[in-house]
């Protein structure tokens, strides 16, 4: 876009703008499809839809459908008419609402991230969905659900520059700064095909997909039960039932792994991370293109995540947390994620996000009494679970020797889990930064400047007081980090240091 055109657009943004009419049509169609998808089980479940069709008749249903369509069009038109936005200096003003009129104002200094999404159906029209998130967190997101891409980019630039002056001189300086941004923008990480495949295998998508497909197990089992006797499987199935079962398990795992890789491809195809000075911008997506900007000033915690398989494959990913992240670890897809990284790439990127961060060599472990507590917890939980299942729910006539063997197995598994968790739990101070690691087979390491602490809690049970240990709860912008069973003196010293860092930073 030329500088003149950009200047025109800047002027244009000061006036009230509407969404694209195409966007309203697309939103109505996609909203209808979502509604239908969400209520599909209700409509089709147990033949309710067919029963309703029989009872009402096709003509009545057609009239009902036409009425619904009429109301949908009416509501969409009202939505289009009421929805408007403009920029007042560095403040975005959005007005919307059908029955209740609402006005939102977002000042540039309160913006922590901007997301541009382009679903496949919006691409032919050159439209995008634009979202802005303030310091109040994910609950405060404001979306413009269908504007031109150029305008979305301009809005992003406008809100990333709090010192914007709406004078002619200011406009000129904006053009110059955007040109400077463009020259400074450089790709610092681009994903490769191998990295996508490894990320797909190592991410938690495989478990999520397995959970999503689990309702299909019973219908599949019924289908196999009905169809299997009719098929001549004996000819190609292995004679040994054990080998057949093992092959079945391998086939399921391979199927899930392929789906996980496809999911990673869908989300991270063409992933590129750009450094635009204070802003880090990532673009990715096979069909649903997404552009996410992260303000480094607002960055609170960077997490280096490796699943168990990821550690074997030598891959992990970074999750950048800002204020008010909701949903915990499960909502990672809504965060700024850098996928498919080796450990050295992850460390290099973290150091780039936070000047002065140096990777830590070794982590301090927590008190060994934590391991004994974990052993006790795991053994009692597993033992009680096993006893309830085998003793009451599925009563098995086991000999006392078998029960003893089972008890020993529970103890060994509990000890292994306790040892792995104790080994994974650790912390380290690296200059101004604090690193906290947790996990069992997979590991998550939170890295944050000490002055980013929000509040802290020092907790001691009567057993901990006897052993001279304490648990430190650190509240951060994205959630809580816990350091369990630290030596009490060490815990108090760390708490004092963290409070000093926060309070002296604010005073400075």
């Amino acid at each position: 876009m030329s500088d003149e055109a950009r200047l025109d657009d800047t002027d244009e943004l000061s006036e009230w703008q509407r969404l694209s009419p195409w966007a309203v049509l697309l939103l109505m169609l996609s909203g209808g499809a979502t509604l239908l998808r969400q209520h599909m089980p209700l409509v089709l479940g147990a033949g309710a839809g067919l029963a309703m069709m029989d009872r009402l008749g096709s003509r009545e249903l057609a009239v009902g459908g036409a009425l619904l369509l009429f109301f949908a069009v009416l509501i969409s038109l009202l939505y289009y008419r009421r929805f408007r936005y403009r920029c007042d200096g560095d403040v975005l003003v959005v007005r919307k609402g059908l029955l209740e009129h609402r006005e939102f104002k977002v000042a540039a200094r309160h913006v922590q991230s901007v997301v541009i999404q382009q679903p496949a159906y919006m691409r032919p029209f050159g439209l995008v969905q634009w979202e802005v998130e303030t310091l109040a967190g994910e609950g405060s997101r404001i979306a413009l659900p269908g504007i031109r891409r150029e305008r979305a980019e301009l809005l992003g630039r406008r809100l990333s520059r709090p010192q914007y002056e709406p004078s002619a001189q200011g406009q000129a300086s904006e053009v110059q700064t955007s040109r400077a941004d463009k020259t400074r923008s450089e790709p610092i990480y681009a994903i490769t095909a191998k990295a996508i495949v490894l990320h797909g295998l190592a991410s938690r998508s495989i478990y999520l997909i397995a959970a999503m497909l689990s309702p299909l197990v019973r219908p599949l089992e019924r289908w196999l039960h009905d169809r299997l006797p009719q098929l001549d499987l004996v000819a190609w199935l292995p004679a040994s039932p054990w080998i057949a079962v093992a092959m079945g398990i391998v086939a399921v795992v391979v199927f899930l792994a392929v789906l996980a890789v496809l999911a990673a491809w869908w989300q991270f195809h063409g992933y590129v991370l750009h450094d635009e000075g204070e802003r880090q911008v990532q673009r990715s997506g096979l069909v649903h293109r997404q552009e996410r900007a992260l303000s480094l000033v607002r960055l609170q915690v960077v997490e280096w995540v490796q699943t168990g398989l990821g550690r074997c494959l030598g891959r992990g990913y970074l999750v950048c947390h800002q204020y008010g992240a909701q949903g915990g670890d499960a909502a990672e897809s809504r965060r700024f994620v850098v996928p498919g990284l080796t450990r050295s790439q992850g460390e290099a990127l973290t150091a780039r996000f936070w000047q002065g961060y140096r990777p830590v060599g070794s982590f301090r472990r927590v008190d060994p009494s934590y391991r004994r507590i974990l052993l006790l917890r795991h053994a009692s939980l597993l033992g009680a679970g096993t006893a309830v299942v085998l003793g009451l729910l599925v009563p098995l006539p086991l000999s006392p020797l078998a029960w003893a063997g089972l008890g020993l197995l529970v103890l060994v598994i509990s000890a292994a889990l306790a040892q792995l968790r104790w080994m994974a739990t650790g912390w380290a101070q690296a200059g101004d930064f604090l690193c906290i690691r947790r996990g069992v087979l997979g590991q998550r390491t939170g890295i944050f400047p000490q002055q980013h602490l929000i509040s802290l809690g020092l907790q001691q049970s009567w057993l901990q007081r006897r052993r001279g240990v304490a648990t430190l709860h650190l509240e951060l912008a994205h959630g809580r980090q816990v350091l369990p069973y630290l030596n009490e003196v060490q815990a108090r010293r760390l708490a004092d240091t963290l409070l000093y860092r926060v309070e002296s930073d604010q005073a400075a």
Partner: protein, 179 residues
């Protein structure tokens, strides 16, 4: 972000251990006892009214209610002892609150992180002349520190002090600015 790495002498840092904590109002214990008693009475009444469908079990009907009432009595007693041990402290740069009997917890909220303050009270608390001071920080995840058991006058004084600190740091009129 610029990198600073000033050396700190841990021995000279203000220690949490040395912070002076003031016990909350002694009226908190009876207030908590009333609130907990109401809660357990409701549960016991539910258990007493719950119909046993099996005839053989019908004679045992009062026992769950009795068990819950005894458990409630124990919880009220524990709550009373715990409420008597609660304390809070105000330092120049942070607010402290200690609670718990078997599991003790000391919460510290740096005043630099404070975004806004609320005082709340339910009818039972008002009956005992108590108020809760609720402190919120950035991020919109709800209250970060709730100090229970402050007398009305004390709550007003603490609230005024915190507001004065907030005004001094210029955050009152710029609530959402990053700490």
């Amino acid at each position: 972000m610029t990198f600073t790495n000033a050396a700190l002498d841990p021995q000279r840092l203000p220690a949490l251990r040395e912070a002076r904590l003031v016990p909350v109002s002694p009226r908190l214990a009876p207030c908590q006892a009333v609130l907990r008693s109401l809660h357990w009475l409701f549960l016991s009444a539910l258990a007493a009214l719950f119909p046993f469908l099996h005839e053989d079990l019908a004679p045992w009907q009062p026992w769950p209610a009795v068990g819950l009432a005894l458990l409630g009595l124990f919880a009220v007693g524990l709550g009373w002892c715990e409420a008597r041990r609660r304390a809070y402290g105000l330092r120049q740069h942070d607010l402290l609150y200690r609670r718990g009997l078997l599991v003790q917890r000391l919460q510290v909220l740096p005043l630099a992180r404070l975004q806004h303050i609320e005082t709340l009270s339910n009818p039972v608390e008002r009956l005992f002349g108590l108020e809760r001071l609720v402190c919120f920080t950035a991020g919109g995840r709800g209250a970060d520190l709730v100090i229970e058991g402050l007398s009305r006058d004390r709550a007003a004084v603490v609230r005024q002090h915190l507001l004065a600190q907030l005004e001094r740091s210029g955050q009152v009129h710029d609530g959402a600015s990053p700490p």
